[in-house]
């Protein structure tokens, strides 16, 4: 199963505002050719936009694991909890 198929099974209450921020897009562009976050994120939130030359953040599907905060080798991601009641809501856990 693809990640998208799996995320479709989860219940999200997406906020209008993001809780994830790329601190310095230049770091992604010039210092991080591997773009690790596009691979290790279990919800495929980060995607490289070749045209705009920057990382796109699909925060709506974030399962709030916290990995990107510590897994970006440049600590280039600012990570907040979504506002109260927003974000993923597990029914099994």
């Amino acid at each position: 199963m693809t990640i998208q198929d799996k995320l479709y099974l989860d219940r999200f209450n997406a906020d209008k505002q993001s809780h994830l921020f790329i601190i310095d897009p230049d770091v992604c562009l010039y210092q991080c050719p591997e773009q690790y976050c596009t691979k290790f994120c279990p919800a495929h939130v980060y995607e490289w936009d070749a045209e705009a030359q920057k990382i796109l953040v699909g925060y709506e599907g974030c399962v709030e694991c916290g990995t990107c905060r510590i897994g970006c080798p440049f600590r280039n991601i600012k990570w907040l909890n979504p506002r109260g009641g927003y974000g993923v809501q597990y029914r099994q856990g």
Binding site: Y36, T67, Q89
Partner: protein
């Protein structure tokens, strides 16, 4: 929202709820703030809950709580891509009252636990993310800021039970986040299967459960473990690996999960099952040396926020409950003595040092490092063991004496015996 409480607890997981229960029973005016829609809605766990710690707080809880199955069999599988050397223990005695452990689903279990805590007199407010701490001019914590209008709440003691993503603990200046080799990421699926199928496939009586921990090729050589636990009408299936290994592997965790699903031994057990939920979460696994500072004036940190998990024994919820209970007791003393400075709150750390929580973490302090520096345990040994077992169980016309000699030759070729002896000795030193 009333603006003053004796104690404010951030997070309604096992750590925060245990603290809340002790405090409410002790007559304190306690508020628990939880960011999810309901307790458990943000929480993920493999699912093994040990009886002992919660039994102390809520005697006989399993007769009433939404538990999934009582575990009577626990297994380890040492895997190569197409084989597994298995080791396990089963006894029907674990099903006797009181049982040893159970499986639970957090989104079902946590709300039940929270209800008990509310019944004891605690106030619980959900859908509320705490975004900051309030310090007074002497630097002591005197309250929290909830992300809602007029969200300031003052308290004599604040307990942070916010879990592994401990942003407030960091804001308090007690921690600067986990390093990549101090946490594992686990991804998990809940796979629906009919009750009878589960009982047939795992050889269980109704209501009984089994666990499997998967090592070796299960994690494609990364430091970590796969797991498969039986619930009432589903199984919890997942894999967790050290963040450092994951990041530099270039692999996606879902790929890792799908890969493990294809293993012949796993595939048959989950065949025909329907995935109903996908989740992921960090587990703090840095051991004793990675623990943040646990208290300061007006503040204590408990559970995963304090890094209190034991990776080797997949324990976390029980350590969370014990630390929460002790923090609750110390907070009651602080209230009684009218002093919530470090002078009193340091008792929390002192008492924790005397329990299994910090004793166990000290024991395994070097375990992660050890396996990180000695990848042969996850790569070479499972492969070698698998070949030995294959030779041993394959009946051909080789006389047994020759077979034995062949096995010894095979082992020696892959790894000199002195090397194996040394490996075992150093593993014993690291985790024995």
């Amino acid at each position: 929202m009333a603006e003053r409480f004796d104690v404010v607890i951030v997070g309604a997981g096992p750590a925060g709820l245990s603290a809340g229960l002790v405090l409410a029973r002790g007559g304190a005016n306690v508020l628990i703030l939880e960011r999810g829609e309901y307790p458990g809605s943000k929480n993920v766990m493999g699912g093994v809950l040990y009886r002992h710690q919660l039994d102390e707080l809520l005697p006989g809880f399993w007769r009433e709580a939404p538990i999934e199955r009582t575990i009577v069999e626990q297994n380890y599988w040492l895997m190569t891509p197409d084989s597994a050397v298995t080791f396990g223990y089963r006894t029907p005695r674990w099903a006797d009252d009181p049982p040893n452990n159970f499986t639970v689903l957090r989104a079902k279990f946590d709300p039940w636990f929270a209800k008990k805590v509310e019944e004891a007199g605690a106030t619980l407010i959900t859908r509320t993310t705490v975004v900051d701490l309030i310090h007074d001019d002497r630097g002591r914590v005197v309250g929290v800021v909830a992300g809602r209008p007029e969200g300031e709440v003052y308290a004599d003691v604040v307990i942070l039970a916010e879990g592994v993503n401990n942003l407030l603990t960091q804001k308090a200046g007690l921690h600067d986040d986990w390093k990549m080799n101090e946490a594992a990421l686990a991804v998990k699926e809940v796979i629906e299967l009919p009750r009878e199928k589960i009982e047939d496939r795992f050889g269980l009586e109704p209501g009984q459960g089994a666990t499997v921990e998967m090592l070796g090729d299960a994690t494609a050589g990364m430091l970590g473990m796969g797991f498969l636990y039986t619930n009432k009408e589903s199984v919890s299936f997942g894999v967790g690996v050290l963040v450092k290994h994951l990041v530099y592997s270039g692999m996606n965790p879902n790929q890792l999960l799908e890969r493990l699903k294809q293993h012949p031994k796993v595939r048959k057990l989950i065949e025909g099952g329907k995935v109903i939920e996908y989740s992921a979460k960090l587990i703090p696994e840095g051991g004793y040396k990675a623990i943040p500072r646990l208290f300061k004036d007006g503040l204590m940190v408990v559970g995963d926020a304090a890094g209190l998990t034991n990776a080797i024994h997949r324990e976390g919820s029980n350590l969370a409950m014990t630390s929460g209970r002790i923090a609750g007791e110390v907070a009651l003393e602080a209230l009684a003595e009218g002093d919530s400075s470090s002078r009193v709150l340091c008792r929390y750390q002192q008492r924790l040092e005397e329990t299994y929580v910090l004793k166990d973490l000290k024991k395994y302090n070097h375990a992660n490092e050890f396996f990180d520096e000695n990848p042969q345990f996850l790569r070479d040994y499972p492969e070698l063991l698998s070949r030995v077992m294959r030779e041993f169980f394959t009946v051909d016309s080789t006389p047994k004496w020759d077979k034995q000699a062949k096995i010894i030759r095979m082992v020696r070729q892959q790894r000199p015996l002195w090397r194996i002896a040394y490996d075992l000795y150093s593993m014993w030193r690291a985790i024995g």
